[in-house]
Symmetry: C2
């Protein structure tokens, strides 16, 4: 799988699964009727942030947006968002994007990464983040109107990037140590 | 003290203390070098949100911005931000704006109010919110680069608007019960 910076022309490959994920209504707070133009402007971020895509056999199967969680005096904490084509779920796309994102944020000099709104019923995402060293700082009660489950919590998840613990997935993937 | 919706022309009264507060660097994550135009566009919000000003003896001494904390499936939780002219601190401006904000959000149909980034050393604000029924859900460690104190935490604070407990300040202010 290749993770690379997104180019403007990639949007036409991202938008179909972005729209599908938002329409399903189980993971994101984008407006249900969001237009391609509004979604593009939100997702295809610019410096100091970055948007990347995951390519598998020449097909774009996911995307991530990374950047500062706040401006100014809060800009040393990163945040990120992820979209994986539902047709490619279970193929490690989310994990590959997540690991890239953590490496990018650490290398870029961010001190930590924070997710502001992880839907509590999105157990795949929650367990992925936990396996990558994130903890749930808090759960905002009933903050997400889930299309199937009604009002459910939104987790705020956090991971320091200052330490460099071995990620669980790294040992299981038997990577070559990077130093 | 009069709390009323802000008009476009009010920005020239808000900007001097907005800029001063951001420059002091102890409470907000706006960029230090933010321009008036960028600050105006962020602060003077439109429907479904609202920006209000506090007037005392004909002078604008504070402002608040209220609206949905998230879009779409998260839009039933409100958030708000507050600026009080440093020359008018200790005169109850923040409390008056806070009480208006809670009333507005409840009346407008929001289920809760959430603050995403209350600087932990801003004890005046933290104690005001606590006195108005907010709790600290979590503190993101070292998430704010305080101009004087260095890295300090950012509180995520929360209050349900579904119950209608008597606010501590209401009893002390001996208001006429509203129902």
């Amino acid at each position: 799988m290749l993770i690379r910076p997104a180019e403007a022309a990639d949007w036409e490959s991202i938008w179909p699964f972005f729209r599908e994920i938002v329409t399903i209504g189980e993971t994101y707070c984008y407006p249900d009727q969001i237009t391609s133009e509004s979604a593009r402007s939100s997702w295809m971020t610019e410096a100091p942030g970055i948007t990347v895509v995951a390519e598998l056999e020449g097909r774009i199967v996911g995307s991530a947006r990374i950047g500062p969680n706040r401006d100014g005096r809060g800009a040393h904490v990163a945040t990120a968002a992820f979209m994986v084509d539902p047709r490619s779920q279970g193929e490690g796309v989310g994990r590959a994007l997540a690991e890239f994102t953590l490496d990018w944020a650490r290398t870029t000099g961010y001190r930590a990464m924070q997710f502001n709104a992880v839907v509590a019923t999105n157990i795949g995402a929650v367990s992925l983040w936990k396996s990558l060293g994130f903890e749930i700082l808090a759960t905002v009660p009933e903050a997400f109107d889930h299309a199937a489950d009604g009002l459910v919590g939104l987790h705020i998840m956090y991971r320091s990037l200052l330490d460099r613990p071995i990620l669980r997935s790294e040992s299981s993937m038997r990577r070559v140590p990077r130093g």
